[in-house]
Amino acid sequence: MQTKSKTLTLAKRGLNFEMFMWMVTRLTALAMYGLILIAVIGALIMGARTQMNMADIMRWGFMPNVTHVQNTNVPDVAPWSTPFWRLVGSALLLVAVGHGVHGLVVIADDYIVSERGRRIVRNLSIIMMLTMSGIGLYILWTF
């Protein structure tokens, strides 16, 4: 029988960037579940049960942006474009971009092993993260 503990405390393990992002990936996953749940519950409160079909609710849940309800039977899209929903959308966008871009870096690290290659991937990922966040926020707050 093994008596030694298989797990190390965080202090013994040390907190580096990889460890930090490992935790961020899991916590952002939970945050996305929460934000999608808020969007779906909000849609049902605003009358989606009779005015939208399931695909429309899912599209809205995936990203609560007003352009995602424009082709539905919702009579007035004004309640769907309030600052509250723009803030929920922005939170979902930023969390998803962070989670997604780090995921791409993890995948790239599995196949690119040279120091230089990894540095290029990291620089590209930072540029991609900033541009996609910027474009996404622009779409969310101007349409």
Partner: protein
């Protein structure tokens, strides 16, 4: 500097990782699919014009929806399993059972979605 593996490709492909390996591969494919879809969808909405309409037209195609919904649903359910097992490490003992439970949740949900999407796609 190239990639150095200590196994040949044919050995790697014959690796019998079974259930956990399958979820790992599908999680990776799903994540890549979502990343590519979301990026191009945001860019298409931002740029608009003929190119934007063309790209968003692909996303409205029912065959593409079958693919992207598989990516999203599998990534979400498998990600929830990973998150729960990682945040409560004692549960890792039951990881095989967790994967079976995951399929038991995924298959009915995805099957229902396939039925709805295909019926709508065939104009029924």
């Amino acid at each position: 500097m190239g990639l150095k593996r200590n196994v040949s490709l044919s050995t790697a492909l014959r690796y019998k990782g079974q259930g956990p390996m399958l979820t790992f591969v599908l999680h990776r494919i799903g994540g890549l699919g979502i990343a590519i879809f979301v990026t191009t969808h945001i860019l298409a909405s931002f740029l608009g014009g003929k190119g934007g309409v063309f790209v968003n037209g692909i996303y409205e195609n029912w065959i593409f929806q079958l693919f992207i919904f598989f990516c999203v649903l599998f990534h979400a359910i498998n990600g929830l399993r990973i998150t729960i097992l990682d945040l409560f490490p004692k549960l890792i003992e039951h990881s095989r059972e967790a994967i079976w439970l995951e399929w038991a949740v995924f298959l009915p949900l995805y099957g229902f979605a396939v039925y709805v999407i295909v019926r709508a796609g065939l104009g029924g």
